[in-house]
């Protein structure tokens, strides 16, 4: 837990730390979810509190179902996920809206506008409307904690799951948070049968549909008096309607203006909106991504401007809002300088690199998936040809194979990480076997959910709460679903893996290749004694074979013809490749690539 700031009673926490604290103060006792930036640290922090059961589920749908179950048993329950995770969890979400709750149930969904670490940007507010659920939207960490506590009260009072929408600029912002009391739920934990409410057969569901409609009306009235929907009257020339982080940008760009800040973005307080609209000369709606508020406000017959001014793509900021509304560009004095980009890269010693190096050599179509290994797309590895969503790689390769027929044989492979395979790749593997494909599926098994910061998963052998757990045996699992050819290889062994891949790709039956080596960033790997390699640059001919790995520990040092000659090399040698021994972890992938014995194993570090 982050310690309090030196001279303050208050804490200075990230939005995710604050949400964890909010869950504890709301007396949540069961929490489940799947890691996804920017939501991951909520459950990680919550797992450090006493008296709360937390877990990583294999995917967001399972996570939400666990939370629904805990709520049915009377506990206050939490499910967390990123925006695309809510797509996976949408099925239970829409029907949990009908069943309602016993213990309070909140789903925290964290959007990622501008796609800092996501494959799309989507506006989760649309789910609130579609699933007929109330949604709260805090603007900073302090509010995030308070809103989560309010969400549990709304959930139990209105018999509804509640959505709380976070985003990158709440989740990964640090701000002042005031600790509070731990709440007490009125609901008792225990089995209480209510089949007409919880068994969604059509006959029951039709009744519950009416209950949902009545609930929406009651929530609409509640929104009008809800203390977190508030008008801050200022200059009446211009009024803004806004919510979440957008409110902060409005306050900073137009501190003098009148503002309606919505804490609840579904349902909307129509009377309050009219009150502001009637009181100002010009009404502007400021919101990130979709014209969610604007469309609904216009449907009320209220004249306002929104997306004709405010961008619908990417994050907003004070500068973006100011320029959009007033046309003033802001105080920029220096133009950007064109520089070499610095994209992310797989770490030095990353076990994925050896696989992608070989996939590049094999010139196959690589159907990829979501994880660090998606970076296999970047040059010089350049060995990923599609990536859509979690678990999609196997299904997409199967679809391509069926479309291509004979012409596709040996030309398409799928790659999927251990966590992603468990998330939603397994179903596709079953489909591939059942529907008679001859695909090659590569499971990149680094024993951890790496990209989001090393969360344990069902293959890791431990739980979120730090207990030892079963570790899935992928070989047995694949055989059990009907894969006859399962082979496990060490991806650092460049030549061996090439041979195995070639054999399995050429095979006329479905096969799974498991590349197994722990992620370099897991604590056990970090602690392992390393023997970094070093370059005998006298031997290096500048052939660049080792550079094709794209390893950050290997650096090219250019030479002019004069320098090359002075060093006793061929005048035509353009440079030398040198291993940086500080960065090198001694994975050995580069060793067989050097035909001139310039790469050597060094001393222990």
């Amino acid at each position: 837990m982050t310690k309090p700031a030196t001279s303050l009673e208050n804490l200075w926490l990230s939005g995710n730390e604050a949400l964890a604290m909010g869950a504890k103060e709301a007396a949540v006792t069961v929490a489940s979810g799947y890691p996804g930036t920017p939501s991951t640290e909520i459950l990680e922090n919550l797992s450090r509190y006493e008296g709360v059961y937390t877990e990583w589920a294999p995917n967001e749908k399972v996570g939400l179902e666990v939370a629904i179950g805990a709520s049915f048993a009377g506990a206050r329950a939490l499910a967390t996920m990123k925006h695309v995770g809510l797509n996976v969890a949408a099925d239970p979400l829409f029907t949990a809206s009908y069943t309602g709750v016993r213990g309070g149930l909140v789903i925290v969904v964290a959007d990622d506008p501008s796609m800092h670490s996501s494959q799309n940007e989507q506006d989760s507010r649309n789910y609130a409307d579609a699933a007929k659920l109330p949604m709260l939207e805090p603007s900073d960490p302090g509010e995030a904690k308070e809103f989560l506590k309010i969400a549990y009260d709304i959930s139990e009072e209105f018999d509804t799951p509640v959505l709380l929408k976070s985003c990158t600029r709440v989740a990964h912002v640090k701000g002042i948070v005031v600790p509070g009391e731990i709440a007490v739920s009125k609901v008792k934990i225990g089995i209480e049968k209510a089949p007409a409410k919880f068994v969604m057969l059509p006959g029951n569901a039709r009744q519950r549909r009416l209950a949902v409609a009545a609930r929406q009306d009651r929530l609409g009235e509640f929104a009008e008096t809800f203390a977190e929907n508030k008008i801050e009257w200022g200059d009446k020339k211009r009024g803004f309607i806004t919510a979440g982080v957008s409110y902060l940008y409005v306050k900073e760009a137009f501190p003098e203006a009148s503002v309606l800040k919505l804490g609840l973005v579904n349902p909307l307080p129509e009377k309050m909106i009219r009150e502001l609209a009637d009181g100002v000369e010009e009404l502007i709606v400021v919101e990130e991504l979709d014209p969610y508020l604007e469309t609904r406000i216009k449907a009320m017959g209220i004249d306002c401007r929104g997306k004709e001014l405010i961008p619908a793509i990417g994050e907003l900021s004070t500068a973006v809002v100011r320029k959009a509304v007033s046309g003033e560009a802001g105080p920029v004095e220096f133009a950007p300088v064109e520089l070499i980009p610095r994209p992310p890269n797989m770490c030095a010693g990353c076990p994925h690199r050896g696989l992608f190096y070989n996939l590049n050599r094999l010139k196959v179509f690589v159907s990829g998936d979501i994880g660090c290994y998606t970076l296999g797309f970047l040059p010089p590895l350049s060995a990923m040809d599609s990536c859509v969503c979690m678990g999609a790689s196997i299904g997409i390769a199967h679809g391509m194979s069926k479309a291509l027929g004979e012409a596709g044989k040996g030309k398409v492979v799928s790659v999927i990480g251990d966590s992603t395979f468990i998330h939603s790749g397994l179903n596709s593997l079953i489909n591939t076997v059942y529907n008679k494909d001859n695909a090659t599926i590569i499971i990149l098994d680094n024993r951890i959910t790496a990209m989001t910061g090393h969360q344990p998963n069902p293959a890791s052998g431990s739980t979120l709460m730090g207990e030892p757990a079963n570790s899935i045996d992928f070989e047995e699992l694949c055989r059990a679903v009907g894969v006859k050819h399962v082979r496990t290889v060490n991806p650092h062994e460049i030549e061996e893996i090439y041979k195995v891949l070639k054999e399995e790709i050429d095979r006329d039956e479905v096969s799974v290749v498991i590349t197994r080596f722990p992620c370099v960033l897991v604590p056990e790997e970090k602690k392992r004694v390393k023997y970094p390699f070093f370059t005998d640059t006298d031997e290096c001919t500048g052939c660049t074979a080792c550079l094709k790995l794209g390893c950050p520990a290997i650096q090219w040092e250019p030479l002019t013809p004069e320098e090359a000659e002075a060093q006793g090399r061929k005048k035509s040698q353009k440079g030398v490749a040198r291993i940086d021994e500080v960065t090198c972890v001694g994975c050995g992938q580069c060793l067989p690539l050097c035909k001139f014995e310039a790469i050597n194993k060094g001393e222990e570090k």
Binding site: S117, P331, R342, P343, V582
Partner: protein, 194 residues
């Protein structure tokens, strides 16, 4: 002290930028300021260009620094200092760690690392303070403490007593690394003043 300000931290994933911004923020909070910090996790952290925005004042709304309004830039890598130029204004001060980390295109021989970056910055009238953070940390016996050397340099430009920073470091750095970090902080502070 100045009633408000914006400090931008930039560099390459893995350089300890988040801890540096954290130490600075706690020193500001200890001086009675409101402070907000924004950073990005996930895909962006894998060796890519990273940034952290730190804003302080009586009351901070937005967690993001606007272009043209960063008063201080703490760049952990030379080329990254230039990448964030549009965030600076004429009065900005730029502390640059004199370390080069080659981006993939340079490391694989496809492009050349740009020369004369510090001159590019000072030609624009910016006050540039080069600090050999890596050297200071190496001398003290732990190269991983380079980030604290830079915090030391930054501390000399903020109207916060040195003691406040030292207290924060004592609270937040594990005991076994404390001595090294305090030495590195003091050396960095000297370098910032030179």
């Amino acid at each position: 002290m100045e009633s408000s300000g914006n400090i931008l931290f930039c560099g390459v994933g893995g350089q300890g930028i988040l801890l540096a911004s954290e130490l600075t923020a706690y020193a500001l909070l200890a001086s009675g300021m409101d402070a907000k910090k924004s950073e990005v996790h996930g895909m962006a952290q894998r060796g890519g260009s990273v940034e952290a925005h730190l804003r302080y004042g009586k009351k901070v709304y937005s967690p993001l620094i606007e272009p043209g309004t960063a008063d201080l830039l703490l760049a952990f890598e030379i080329m990254e200092a230039l990448r964030y130029l549009p965030y600076l204004h004429k009065g900005s001060k730029v502390i640059v760690n004199t370390q080069r980390i080659l981006p993939p295109a340079v490391a694989t021989g496809k492009a050349a690392y740009p020369e004369n970056i510090l001159e590019e910055l000072s030609e624009r009238g910016l006050e540039v303070i080069p600090v050999n953070g890596y050297g200071i940390a190496k001398q003290a016996g732990n190269v991983k403490a380079a980030n604290v050397a830079l915090v030391g340099a930054l501390s000399s430009l903020l109207p916060i007593p040195q003691e406040t920073f030292i207290e924060v470091i004592k609270e937040r750095v594990p005991a076994r690394f404390l001595e090294v970090n305090l030495t590195v902080f003091r050396e960095g502070r000297k370098a910032g003043r030179a």
